[in-house]
């Protein structure tokens, strides 16, 4: 009997003792934000590119990558501290300021507790007033495209595409795109009034809803600008 008691005591010393020092606190501060242009959210491809967070003072550098989601939002749980914030130097559909060396410039972020930091950026193009509807076996869309950057940094419109997908992750890279319609940039005469229409595809297995959105491909830039995802029920 006494032996059992001793064993239990020993076990509690061993197991409870390890609860103390070698367990660290988890990061607790939420850091989040959105990509905005004049207050309007810029929608992009899910995990197409990301933000980078760097922190000094811990020996070697290592990056914390934070991807943007479909709505152009990012969020990350972090320890409090001072960070440098930048977007990855991949091909993003907006102009991010560069430093003298031609690298993306960075912002200082001081984190103590939760923080929301919206990013006001200048996209090459904005998609305005997108409307996507379903009627009589077809997906119809209208929108207008506004060229934001018109100076020497501006780029051409390569195409505008309507995607129809059976999942809510709708973008140019999805292999679940069941239908799409392209309007090539060269063929667009009036970017203020674009209409697209594509037959609603059949899904297997059958489902009575689909997701659609419109994307703008900017020439020479891999990541597109999108409209919000619309769920169509039929």
């Amino acid at each position: 009997m006494r032996k059992i008691f001793l064993n239990i005591a020993l076990a509690s010393i061993v197991f409870l003792g390890s609860c103390k020092k070698d367990n660290f606190d988890a990061p607790e501060s939420d850091f989040s934000g959105r990509l905005l242009y004049q207050g309007q959210q810029i929608h992009v491809r899910h995990a197409g590119f990301g933000a980078e967070l760097w922190q000094k003072g811990f020996g070697k550098f290592g990056v914390i990558n934070v991807n943007f989601n479909q709505e152009g939002m990012f969020s990350s749980k972090l320890f409090d501290g001072n960070y440098k914030f930048t977007v990855s130097n991949s091909q993003v559909p907006f102009l991010w300021p560069k430093n003298a060396a031609g690298r993306p410039d960075s912002l200082d972020v001081n984190l103590s507790g939760d923080k929301v930091m919206d990013l006001e950026v200048r996209p090459y193009f904005m998609l305005r007033s997108p409307v996507i509807t379903y009627s009589a076996g077809a997906v119809n869309a209208t929108c207008s495209v506004e060229k934001i950057i018109t100076d020497a940094n501006g780029r051409d419109l390569e195409r505008v595409t309507l995607y129809v997908n059976n999942t809510q992750f709708v973008d140019d890279q999805s292999t679940n795109n069941k239908a799409k319609q392209d309007l090539s940039g060269a063929a667009i005469s009036n970017p203020a009034n674009l209409t697209m229409s594509v037959a609603m595809p059949t899904f297997s297995p059958v489902q009575n809803y689909a997701f659609a959105r419109i994307g703008i491909k900017i020439s020479g830039i891999e990541n597109m600008v999108f409209s919000p995802v619309v769920k169509l029920t039929f």
């Binding site: 070697k60 550098f61 290592g62 990056v63 990855s88 130097n89 991949s90 091909q91 060396a101 031609g102 690298r103 140019d172 890279q173 292999t175 020479g220 891999e222």
Partner: protein, 632 residues
């Protein structure tokens, strides 16, 4: 008493006399378990072992010791349980195929330095040859680095740390991409006269190997300069990545000159021992008495230096182990082998919506480039003198398919009017999702060893990995001549290679286009580790792997097979079925279906940031002078 005195005296002499040896003799005892630098450089054979070690570490990305890397770019399907992911990720990581082996570089530089310091101990021609070989390997490593990373620190001396606490003097910035190629070209020009001008031992550097490396490097530099102009975002302001377009012609001229120096040197010729052109092309990679090879990695049975390429990839039905069949060439590659009249055509599986019936399995492949049968094991052919058994099942008149889920499965009473037991699927598959089966409908033949025992784990294979061969030199010359607007010369060099493939109607000078050049390299050099670098230097990679899914129409009714920009993002296969309809004239014939193996779920996308691989953060932390590659 006297006895004791004598004994003590002897003892004292032994003890003290021993101590009369000089201290320095005792302290400078030669170690018996390793050799000093000075003693190595006295003996030619010892130096040769060092050079052998350098050759052994010569880098390759895709080679026959790593079959899986051949499947990354849709030239083949990876028919092995742990490798399906290669067809299920859309994007390539930015750090894919990166390379940074400055430990090896330091050892090469040490070898060159020490060899240079002890020249008086060996015959001069021996030292010269050894040092030239080390410089050849060093240029090969820098070539590999610049292909993958762009310009890198060009270190030609072993760096030594002085323990001062300040590592700054060891930091070297990246060179320009053009400087890397200039260095390689200059080195090859210098060492070509020091190396033997023959192909007696293609596993060591020769004059031909130096020129072949020079020709390939100059061609890469030329095309990066020319085609890089179309992708200005793939460059850095300091020139670490990207070469100005104005330098293109100079590099093409060097590439042509180096290639022609090999051609006119007359030491090499195309392998033409067998009049059966398919067998001849397959034997080119097996036969060790071969006038075509220039530089190889050699292997030898009964040593540690044997490889398992044949074990991994032998046809499953005739395998010598219960495995094989991993590397399945894709229909994408197979259909790109052109017809004997120089035209491109998809494999005729359907006419409109009706299947086309063939009496023999091989009929659908008839009239094509002989390199097809030499590169790929087709259904209905043989390997090691045994029949390959690739067919996916029975197609009934009703449209129903009778097939199985195991290799060569036998089922009873499954065919209408036949209650007996019949085999319903081939011994090699194709079985969807079953590893080792020919899931694309094909097996690889190039580098597959026909020797008995080559498929056994206890024996393995000694087929060589060919890094440079004479046919590529012709293609280099043809491409360089084409880019220099000398299409007549390009047509002449292409003809040499195409004649051997049975394409005897020569292309005229007017028919030589960029698409032709791209196509010829793809089919001649498939599975030889060229595809990725070629696509990168032509800046075609982001167009060919653009993330757009391939569809069956890209294979059944393709009209752009010869196009250099044809999208090639997903592996497709071609499965043969036996038609079962007693009484029907087509009964017993074969029909073919274009299929996408179910394990292929994503369309590959090559991003701008993939053109030059990402530096690991460790490298950047260690040397702040290294600037990062663009678009990542």
């Amino acid at each position: 008493m006297k006895k004791y005195i004598i004994a003590t005296g002897i003892l004292a002499m032994l003890t003290l006399g021993q101590a009369c040896k000089k201290d320095s003799d005792f302290l400078e005892k030669q170690p018996t378990d390793n050799l000093s630098v000075a003693s190595v450089w006295k003996d030619k054979n010892l130096v040769l072992t060092l050079v052998g070690d350098l050759y052994d570490r010569y880098p390759d990305y895709q080679n026959i010791e790593a079959w899986w890397d051949f499947t990354n770019f849709d030239e083949a399907f990876a028919s092995a349980g742990g490798d399906y992911f290669r067809h299920q990720n859309t994007e390539y990581n930015y750090d894919s195929w990166n390379y940074w082996d400055y430990g090896f570089m330091r050892e090469i530089n040490l070898f060159i330095k020490r060899g240079g310091e002890s020249t008086n101990l060996l015959a001069k021609e021996d030292t010269d040859r050894f040092l030239a070989e080390a410089r050849f390997v060093r240029a090969g490593v820098y070539f590999e680095l610049v292909k993958r990373m762009g310009g890198v620190p060009l270190l030609l001396e072993p760096l030594t740390y002085d323990y001062s606490g300040d590592p700054t003097p060891l930091r070297v910035a990246r060179s320009k991409e053009s400087e890397m190629y200039d260095f390689i070209i200059k080195e090859m020009e210098e060492i070509k006269v020091l190396l033997p001008d023959n192909n007696a031992d293609p596993s060591r550097a020769s004059k031909g190997a130096a020129l072949a490396l020079e020709s390939r490097a100059a061609l890469y530099a030329g095309s990066i300069a020319k085609y890089g102009a179309a992708t200005p975002e793939v460059s850095l302001p300091g020139g670490e990545v990207g070469i100005p377009a104005s330098m293109a012609n100079g590099y093409y001229q060097i590439a042509l000159r180096a290639a022609e120096e090999i051609i006119t040197g007359g030491k090499y010729s195309l392998y033409k021992k067998n009049t059966n052109l398919q067998e001849n092309f397959a034997a080119l990679f097996i036969d060790k008495a071969n006038p075509e090879v220039i530089f190889v990695k050699d292997y030898k049975l009964k040593t540690k230096k044997a490889h398992g390429f044949t074990i991994d990839n032998q046809p499953r039905s005739i395998a010598e182990e219960a495995q094989g069949g991993r590397l399945n060439p894709s229909l994408n590659l197979v259909q790109s082998f052109e017809m004997l009249d120089n035209s491109f055509a998809p494999l005729a599986s359907v006419s409109g919506s009706n299947p086309i019936y063939y009496t023999n399995l091989t009929d659908i492949f008839a009239g094509r480039d002989a390199r097809l049968g030499g590169t790929v094991i087709l259904p209905g052919t043989q390997f090691k003198g045994k029949n390959i058994d690739i067919w996916a099942g029975y197609q009934l008149a009703s449209g129903a398919i009778v097939t199985g889920t195991n290799f060569a499965e036998i089922k009873t009473n499954v065919l209408p009017g036949n209650t007996g037991a019949v085999q319903v699927v081939g011994g090699d598959g194709p079985l969807d999702g079953v590893e080792f089966s020919a899931q694309s409908g094909f097996y690889v033949r190039k580098f597959l060893d026909p020797a008995a025992g080559s498929g056994q784990i206890g024996t393995r294979s000694e087929v060589r990995w060919i890094r440079y061969r004479f046919a590529e030199v012709y293609l280099n010359a043809a491409e360089a001549a084409f880019e220099l607007n000398n299409t007549a010369k390009a047509a002449g060099y292409l003809k040499e290679v195409r004649d051997r493939a049975g394409l005897t109607t020569a292309l005229t000078a007017g028919q030589i286009t960029f698409d032709r050049i791209v196509h010829e390299r793809r089919v001649e050099l498939a599975f030889e580790g060229h595809q990725l670098w070629d696509m990168k230097r032509w800046r075609l990679a982001h167009k060919v792997w653009n993330g757009t899914a391939n569809t069956a129409a890209d294979f059944t009714t393709a009209t752009n097979i010869g196009s250099s920009e044809k999208v090639n993002t997903m592996v497709f296969g071609l499965w043969p079925y036996k038609y079962y309809a007693p009484g029907d004239p087509n009964d017993g014939k074969y029909l073919f279906k274009v299929v996408k193996p179910s394990r292929v779920t994503a369309a590959h996308r090559f991003r701008m940031g993939n053109y030059y691989s990402q530096f690991n953060q460790d490298i950047l932390n260690g040397n702040p002078l290294i600037i990062r590659n663009p678009n990542q």
